[in-house]
């Protein structure tokens, strides 16, 4: 069974966390990204977490590459 991989950046914020939950409830395999681990603590188990500051182009690329390796190439970003 192929999984729909979705990534939500800024998932520690109100909109980001709501988006992560909506997509997870819709059946997506969700990875949540934010600048700090603390910001992602509120998310339920089952949502993967990656810490990184996407305003840095090198970090953004590293975050995407890590997600692709760990969860599979994202189709929904």
């Amino acid at each position: 069974m192929s999984e729909q991989v979705a990534v939500v950046v800024g998932a520690g914020g109100g909109l980001g966390s709501a988006t992560a939950l909506v997509l997870a409830n819709a059946g997506f395999s969700v990875t949540a990204v934010d600048r700090t681990e603390k910001a992602l603590d509120q998310l339920p188990d089952g949502i993967h977490r990656v810490v990184g500051d996407a305003t840095d182009p090198v970090v953004a690329r590293n975050v995407v590459d890590r997600i692709a390796t760990e969860s599979g190439p994202p189709r929904y970003w």
Binding site: G10, G13, G14, L15, T19, T55, D56, P74, R75, W77
Partner: protein
């Protein structure tokens, strides 16, 4: 789904180089760097969908938030450029543009009357989910307004 954003109030004549740098870095730069990084994976998969979060001041001139508005306005244009450049690869790029979100952070700093038309984050999240839905194959370059009643 790029929900990153930062806000700084301030009129155009009061904007500092730091204000502009931060507003562009967070509201535009992150969108560009993330899109650059994820597009090659989507191309190899034969397609995908990217959604960025813009804001009403990006397209409706609003006093008192110049640097922020400029960052979001540039983001709108980026979404349309990315749509042109990535649509041949089956990658759709869209954005949703809220006006004001009903969040704990906003409730802590804004008066109740200012929040009268605030939209719950879940409503915006539902629009984002719609934009990535596999059934929605022909929408690209759209900036979907979500301003509340």
């Amino acid at each position: 789904m790029n929900t990153l954003g930062a806000f700084r109030p301030g009129e155009a004549l009061a904007a500092t180089p730091e204000d502009l740098r931060v507003m562009l870095d967070v509201n535009l730069g992150a969108a560009l760097w993330l899109s650059q990084a994820v597009a090659p994976y989507m191309r190899r998969r034969g397609g995908g969908a990217i959604v960025h979060v813009s804001a009403r001041p990006a397209s409706v001139p609003t006093a008192g938030m110049a640097a922020y508005s400029l960052g979001k306005a540039a983001l709108n244009h980026l979404v349309r450029i990315l749509d042109l450049e990535l649509r041949p690869d089956g990658i759709r790029v869209n954005a949703v543009a809220p006006q004001l979100l009903d969040t704990a952070r906003n409730r802590a700093v804004l008066a109740p009357e200012a929040l009268a038309h605030a939209v719950p984050p879940e409503a915006i999240a539902n629009i984002i989910a719609f934009l990535v839905d596999g059934l929605v194959t022909d929408i690209g370059g759209a900036i979907v307004p979500a301003y509340g009643a």
